[in-house]
Symmetry: C2
Subunit: 339 residues, 2 copies
Amino acid sequence: MTSIAEQVLSGNKRAIARLITFVENNHPDAQYILDDLYPHTGRAHLVGVTGSPGTGKSSLVNKLAKAYRQQAKSVAIIAVDPTSPFSGGAILGDRIRMRELAGDSGIFIRSMASRGSLGGLARAVDDAIKVLDAAGFEIIFIETVGAGQSEVDIAKTAHTTIVVEAPGLGDDVQAIKAGILEIADIFVVNKADRPGVEKTVATLKAMLELGHAPTRHMLHHGQLMTVESVSNNSENSAANSWEIPVLKTSATKEEGIGPVIAAISQHFDYLHQSGELANRTRTRLIDELETTLQTVLIERLVSQLPPDYLSQIVDKLASRSLSPYTAVQEILKTKGNQE
Amino acid sequence: MTSIAEQVLSGNKRAIARLITFVENNHPDAQYILDDLYPHTGRAHLVGVTGSPGTGKSSLVNKLAKAYRQQAKSVAIIAVDPTSPFSGGAILGDRIRMRELAGDSGIFIRSMASRGSLGGLARAVDDAIKVLDAAGFEIIFIETVGAGQSEVDIAKTAHTTIVVEAPGLGDDVQAIKAGILEIADIFVVNKADRPGVEKTVATLKAMLELGHAPTRHMLHHGQLMTVESVSNNSENSAANSWEIPVLKTSATKEEGIGPVIAAISQHFDYLHQSGELANRTRTRLIDELETTLQTVLIERLVSQLPPDYLSQIVDKLASRSLSPYTAVQEILKTKGNQE
């Protein structure tokens, strides 16, 4: 085992931060170190927190983290900003949050921005979770800004997904997208001291009753999945037995935090008892495997092609003298001839 | 050439709709038909329209489409909903919009939801654009709901990206994400009849002046790119010469539409003259090629492995008796032995 892996396992924060940077930068050693850590993963409870800007997500996560610390549980927070392909605000955000939770060895906070790479962020976040899981953090929050595909990605990674709304925002039907409803395990209406909170709660409850039951097992439609089905021992009995709670908090006033902590814990128990945890873990593993395989396969392909070959293909595509599907056939044939 | 390809080229709307459905469903014939159409693509102006819910994007796109029709230009609209992994509202939305623009043979409208597949939607949208481009539509709007990675994807597909804001929404600094600024070629503050419009315009202009210059050439960090650089004949001279306009509209009152149409046209001229159009096309082709290669390579891999082999690998990963990186090496070795 490498020394950095040993340091991470002992909870050394500088080693953890350094390894996450390795992961972000695609450092060639990262995969070997992660493999060393892998047998020590699978213990943390991964909690995704998502919602529109202005709902007070970060503030809620900070208070939840504080509450866990009072129970002597160690907490890591990964703040993901998929809307920013270029990092920048991330470090400032870290500093501001650090101040509130500073000096506590049981807390680790890290911001991650996408830096322009599409699949790169999701993969880096998955790997950062592994690092923090191996380091022994019991609760790992994965917080995302924005709405969209990134939430669906996080719902696949997290065990428990909290969707945060705020009064007023929830009144607009457009703001409560079907997709968001379908990834939520727990709804929190934050800023509950503001007017309109009951209306937002009622809207959410009504939408939940309209039959938007959680259908998380449908989230995966990757290619590996076509040859293998998720082990599915409890779909009918347990999938409908988690009742999505709608909770009210005022994070800045530290009100309503306890019931959210309780709901997170109940949801984890439900996942364990229903067999759903094994399901989700398996789905996530298939996804990760597929992503890694794609990366490795294309790297191998590129290394097997003559120099400038791909550049010439792109020239022909640009001039419309070659069509994409034909191009792919030609590339694969050329690769075969080089082998 | 297949008869469906011929019908699409002649502008037959039923054939266009059918082929887009083929593309969405991964119909085995879709790639062959798209290859037939490919030499006829590359003529349309692709205009991305994005922004938060409640900004009146759809309404703005409808009015822009109407204005183009008055210039006798044919218009297609693809309404993409990446926040909804499961379709549902899409068809209703189509009907409502159809009513306003109905009976005009120069207009084609299609909604596309992600249906739970991650990369699948982006690919289907790219292919749908090719179909509509080959069918001769001069302006193709690609409209997205939500904020996040999907905008970055669309910025890569579209020639011109319009970011729509509304008064009030823009006052929250969080709502104007750095990523959104960096993909915008044109800002439109819609609902300009509402109070606060000048403040939103001023905020956007101030943020633009703070040095968030467009850096679109940085958006691509795919793997093929590492072996090939985008042809880059104009980066320094032209990249900074497009001044991002901030325009005001009131789509429901049909006010301010003309200047947006003019800006779209000016931006297309700029792209042509600066050589940036060729740059963006090339970047997009590299991206598409990479995605297609990844798909084909993993399909081939899976078909070369023994049945249940991947399932056993996932079992070992789940029990932590095998680590991910080692698993990938093992899969590739097994594949090699099967060949």
